[in-house]
Structure formats: C-alpha cells, structure tokens
C-alpha cells in the first residue's frame, strides 16, 4: 500500500462480503423452496427471495468494484484519493439505499421487471450516489501524476456501467421496446462494460503478480478485452431472438454468441501465458490463484456455458428455464465474484501488513468454493434440461414439472453447502487480517 | 517462390475461379471447386505473405486444419 486512502477499499470489501453471505442465505431459502420445503412462504415468498438474491449479487459486486477502484486508482494515478471523506459518505449512502430496497421487497414494494425491481424513487438515489463515486474517482484520475491505460479502462468501465443504468428507468408502452432496453441494464453490464472493469483489475493484478512489463500486459490484454467487449455487446442479440425485433438479430446474436466463448478462451490463454512468462515469484500465491482461476472459470461459466444455450435453435426452448440459472451462477462466480476475491486476496495483506496469504483457510477457501460452485452448476444443468424436456417439449404443466425436478435440488443444496463452506473460509481469513493500518504504508515488498 | 510470384499466382487463381463460376454456373461441382481454389489462396496468403511457413508446426497445423475443416463443412452443407 503506497497511499493512505487506499485503505478505503477495505470498507467497501467488508460489507461486500457481508452482503454475499446474505445473498447465499436467500439462495438457500429458494433452494429449500424448490425442494418442497417452502416453510418461509408467508414471510419471504419465492419472488421476494429471488429479487433479493439477484439484487444483492449486483450490489455486492458493485461494492467490490468500487473497493477495487479505491485501491487501484491511487496506485495508478500516483496520488491520494481526491476526497476521502466523500468516499465514506458515498459508501454509507449506497448501503442505505441497498438496504432500503431489500426491505421494500419484503413489504411488496417494487417494480415488476427482473433485475430492475428497485422502486423508482430509489433509482434516483442510486444515480446520485454513483455520480458521487464517479466524481471522486474521476477527479483523482484526472489530477493524477500519471495516466495509465489501466486506470482509464477501469474508469471508462465504471462510467459506462453508470450510463447503462439509465435505459432501465425509461418507461415504454410497447412490450418489445421495453424488453429491448431492459437488456441494456444488467445484461450489457455483464457482457460489456463490466468486462472493461474486470479487464482493468485483471491487468493491474497481472502486472503486480507476474512482474511482466506493463507495456506487454496492457497492450494485449486490452485487445482481448476489446474483443470480449464487442462480442458481448453484439452478442446481446441472443436475447432478442423471439421478442419481436427484426430477423437479422438471429444472425447477429448467433454469430457473436459463438465468438464470446472464444474471446473468453483467449483471455484465459493470455493470463496463463503471462503467468508462465513472468519471472517474478510474488509470494502472494493465493491472489495469483484467484486471478488465474477467474480467467479460466469465466471461460467455462460465461463463455462455454453461455454458448450452451445462446444459439437460436436451442434458446427457443431454454429461455427463462433453470438452464439460465446454470449459466448465470458459474458466469457471475467465474467472471466477477472471483476477480473481486482476487483483488481482496491481493490487497488485504498490503493494507493490513499481515501476511496471511498462504494459510489453510485461504487455500481451502479457493478450492472448496470452486468445487461447490461447479457441483451446483451440474445440479442446475440436470434440473434445467429435465425442465426443458418435460415442460417445453412434452408440454407437461409448469408446476407438475417443478415437482418432478425437486430431487435435483437436494443435490443443489448439498453442493451449495460445500460452496458456502468455501466462502466462509474466505471470510474467516478476511476477518483474521484485521483492520487496515497506516503502519502498512510502503510499496509492495515484491516490487522492490 | 518470392512474394511477387505468390502474388501473380493468387491473381491467376482468382481469374480461374471467376472464369469457372461464370462459364459453368449450373455445374454441380461448382461450389466445392470454387471454394477449394479460395482455400488454396487462403493458405498461400497465410504461409507466404504472413510468413507462417517459418512458424511452428502447431500453427501450421491450425491453419491447414481450419482450411480443411471449413472446406469439408462447406461441401457437406452446400445444396
């Protein structure tokens, strides 16, 4: 840690992990409901649990990205964060808005479209809040002692994510138009601009952890990220197949869906190549494991499993089934959760001065959570395929099919329990680091 | 064979494929024949202009494999 204000990152990471744990709790509520034990139905009905589960995901990932930005930007711009107090104000207000939204869901106050359930007045608060964040980070970048590609890509990703929040706030009378723009919010985030953020963080970590020249890492990473970005934006066409848009979306969506896994594969090969090429042996092996794990799992989850159901012929049957849940879980975990974890694993020793990078908790945390998540994906896949065949191909009634796939959710809950153990180990390790301290000021020891 | 010879050969292949396509439009073998010529051009550019003839065997295999697969799919898929 070179700058005092990098410590702010910790205060974003801690609540992010807390919200992740809460997200998992709601996941379990739904898992048990799917198994037939919908005991909390009167307090937390399934639709509420689902809204909370997905919204918490978005909120904790955004907190993670914001934390990562507070750590990376000072180092890249070579100066302190412009207004540290504002950062705390922004953090607290962001959390307040998030908690209010979740309370609203339990009181049945929400908007109907999935992922965009947050009540309208809160939308404006989110916008104001994100503007504060962008102003703070933007001012720091703008007045920095140096400009790096990494800082600019990271900032552009955050800015574009904020801009793409706006289409979700427009109301349309036309169902097709409404669906068309609904995909611009969360979907264009995950397929497009969040990949800029992920690319920026990945680049920062690879430079620090492998010791390969910044010039080489940056040049090629951003070409690959650019490819992923463009294929992701046009690949959003795979949500436009049968909603009433012109036919050419079938071709655009199909072709760019085929490119997406290849671009992710490129990113995985790239990260492994750099790790192999790097001469420096950074002692923080856990951070490197999470970083490379992110590159590989984002290919498996986002790329490969995404492609499993993005071709028009397949998507005709699978849209909106548990097959989507299969892809969604491993994609968010591999591409975004793991990059945030990698950033935490890298920055915590430097912020606290404690070198807990090779503990049993951190190693087992990685492997157990990943094995658990892959197993969950398998359970979702089996349930999803059964659902598609029974409900969509043979035309059995929706609720009857849900009864049929109940056993698969037993497997899912077991796998989720394993995943949870892994996450708790990570959280335990995080807590053991303690608070960040100014005594830890100084460059990354591996760099000197 | 230097670049100029490669270039002239590429032009010649283009001329042949256009001639065949315009002269015998009804021929059943036309699509595979024209695409085979295109694949040869593809490999010429890759190996000569892009200097892949000096590359590692795996890269060469990638390019030849791509060209062969492409042609095979095309023959199978064409009407």
């Amino acid at each position: 840690m070179k700058f005092k204000t990098q410590k702010i990152a910790y205060w974003f990471f801690a609540p992010a992990l807390l919200l992740l744990v809460l997200q998992i709790v709601y996941g379990f509520i739904m898992g048990f409901a799917h198994m037939g034990f919908d005991v909390l139905h009167d307090i937390i009905p399934f639709n509420t649990a689902r809204a909370v589960h997905t919204n918490l995901l978005v909120v904790w990932l955004l907190l993670g990205f914001m934390g990562a930005a507070h750590y990376i930007i000072p180092e890249e711009a070579d100066r302190e964060i412009a207004w540290p107090k504002l950062a705390y104000v922004q953090l607290i207000s962001f959390l307040l808005v998030g908690v209010t939204a979740i309370v609203c869901y339990h009181l049945n106050i929400w908007e109907g479209r999935k992922f965009l359930e947050i009540p309208r007045p809160l939308d404006y608060l989110v916008v104001a809040n994100v503007l504060l964040f962008l102003a703070n980070i933007g001012w720091t970048v703008w007045n920095g002692k140096r400009f790096t590609t990494t800082a600019i890509v990271l900032y552009m990703g955050l800015l574009a994510a904020a801009l793409l929040y706006l289409p979700g706030m427009i109301t349309f009378d036309n169902q097709t138009l409404d669906s068309f723009y609904r995909w611009w919010v969360v979907h264009l985030w995950v397929e497009g601009v969040w990949e800029l953020i992920m690319g920026g963080i990945l680049c920062f970590l690879l430079i620090k952890l492998t010791g390969v020249d910044r010039e080489i890492v940056e040049k090629w990473l951003y070409i690959i990220v650019g490819l992923t970005f463009i294929s992701g934006i046009l690949g959003t066409g795979h949500h436009y197949y049968y909603i009433g848009v012109p036919r050419y979306w079938l071709i655009v969506g199909g072709i760019f869906s085929a490119l997406e896994p290849l671009a992710f594969l490129g990113m995985a090969i790239y990260a492994l190549y750099m790790a192999r090429k790097g001469g420096r042996k950074h002692p923080n092996k856990t951070a490197l494991t999470w970083t490379l794990g992110c590159a590989i799992m984002s290919f498996v989850g986002a790329g490969f499993l995404g492609f499993a159901h993005t071709l028009p012929q397949v998507n005709l049957w699978t849209h909106g089934t548990l097959v989507t849940a299969m892809h969604g879980h491993l994609a968010f975990w591999g591409a975004y959760a793991m990059i945030v974890f990698a950033m935490m694993a890298y920055s915590m020793p430097l912020m606290t001065g404690r070198k807990l990078w090779d503990t049993a908790a951190s190693n087992y945390g990685f492997w157990i959570s990943n094995i658990g998540m892959v197993a969950m994906t398998g359970a979702f896949a089996v349930a999803g395929v059964s659902q598609v065949v029974l409900e969509r191909r043979t035309g059995i009634d929706f609720l009857e099919v849900q009864k049929e796939v109940e056993p698969h959710f037993f497997g899912l809950v077991l796998a989720a329990a394993l995943f949870t153990v892994g996450i708790l180990l990570f959280v335990l390790n995080f807590i053991r680091y303690g608070r960040p301290t100014d005594e830890a000021l100084g460059a990354d020891p591996a760099e000197s | 064979m230097n670049h100029l010879a490669t270039y002239l050969f590429l032009l010649a292949l283009t001329a042949v494929s256009v001639f065949v396509a315009e002269r015998f439009p009804q021929l059943d073998l036309l699509p595979p024949a024209v695409m085979a010529l295109a694949t040869i051009k593809f490999l010429l550019v890759a190996f000569r202009f892009m200097e892949m003839r000096r590359g590692h065997l795996i890269w060469k295999a990638c390019l030849v494999g791509f060209a062969t697969l492409f042609l095979a799919f095309l023959v199978v898929a064409s009407p």
Partner: protein, 189 residues
C-alpha cells in the same frame, strides 16, 4: 533463410507474436462459423439465395479482390524491406498497401450506394441480410486495419520489429477473410 528468423521455430513466438495469431485464429473461427451458417441457411432456400446473388455484380467483387491482393503483396514486401532495414522502401510499400485498402473502401462504398439505391438493404431478404452483415463486419476490420497501418507508418523509424509484423499480420487477416467471403457471396449460389 534470408532473414534473421530463428532456425527452430518456437511455438510461443510465431512471426508477429503469439497474441496476434491468437486473435487471427479467433477471428477466423468466428467468420468460419458465420460462413458455414450462411451455407446451411442457403440450403433451405436455394432459390431466393440464387436470385438475390444474381443481383450482385461480381465485377465489384473481383476488383476488390485484386485491390486486396495487391495491397497484401505490398504489405508483405514492406515487412521484408523492414527486416532488411531498408526503411524508405518499407515506407513506400506501406503507402501502396494503404492505397490498396483505400481503393477497396472506395469501391465498397460505390457498391453499397448501388445496393441501397436498388432497395436491397439489410432486411430485404435473407441473402442480403447475410451480405450486409458479413461485408460490414469485414469492412470494420478493414477500417481498424487501416488505422493500424497508419500507426505503423507514423512510427516506422522507432517501432519494434515484432509490432511491425503484428500490424502486417492483422492486415493480411482482413485479406484472408475476404478471400473466403468473396466466392461465397459473389460466385457460388
């Protein structure tokens, strides 16, 4: 061997560098999938594709192929001169390569104007949907390639050898794609 290339080629260091070739493979795979999909679609509706194909003027396609091959030839020559440290010749060849690319763009513009004035646009029939999507995506690569060539030209005196090669490989990749695109769209249906 006429240049300083290593005698035993190494997997991780193809001419132009590892990542540009990874990009080439990704791009080729994507365009390859698209072209195969086009042929499969055409099989279900051969008459429409045949009638619409006849509306394209193969002379445009042939001329553009010639432009592109010429441009590619000069690009290859430019890289050769660059390796022999003959910067003035490398520069001249690079200019000619750019000129070939611009000629391609110009003719493509004329052809597009032609098609639009005839009312054959993106949505008019399946063949033209493919025609527009594929050629426009290819055209975007050409535009990016021209920008890259411009950068090479500006930095000719300082650029590293591998980066120069990589720029050349990108330009040839546009060539590769066009070589497969041209017969499929203009000749065989």
């Amino acid at each position: 061997m006429e240049t300083d290339a290593p005698l035993r080629p190494r997997l991780l260091e193809p001419p132009g560098g590892f990542f540009i070739w990874m990009l080439v493979v990704l791009e080729l795979a994507t365009f390859g999938v698209a072209l195969i999909a086009l042929v499969i679609c055409a099989r279900n509706d051969p008459e429409t594709y045949h009638q619409s194909r006849l509306l394209l003027d193969p002379r445009y396609g042939v001329a553009n192929t010639v432009f592109f091959l010429t441009s590619g030839y000069f690009m290859a020559e430019s890289v050769r001169h660059f390796h022999q440290s003959d910067r003035p010749r490398a520069r001249r060849c690079l200019w000619l390569a750019i000129a070939g690319g611009l000629a391609f763009l110009g003719l493509k513009g004329v052809e597009y104007a032609d098609k639009i004035s005839d009312g054959q646009t993106l949505g008019s029939d399946p063949f033209f949907t493919w025609y527009w999507l594929l050629t426009v995506f290819h055209l975007m690569h050409v535009l990016v390639g021209l920008v890259i060539l411009g950068v090479l030209l500006r930095r000719l005196s300082t650029i590293k050898s591998e980066d120069f090669e990589a720029g050349g490989v990108f330009w040839h990749m546009c060539d590769l794609i066009w070589l497969l695109l041209f017969p499929l769209l203009y000749l065989i249906f």
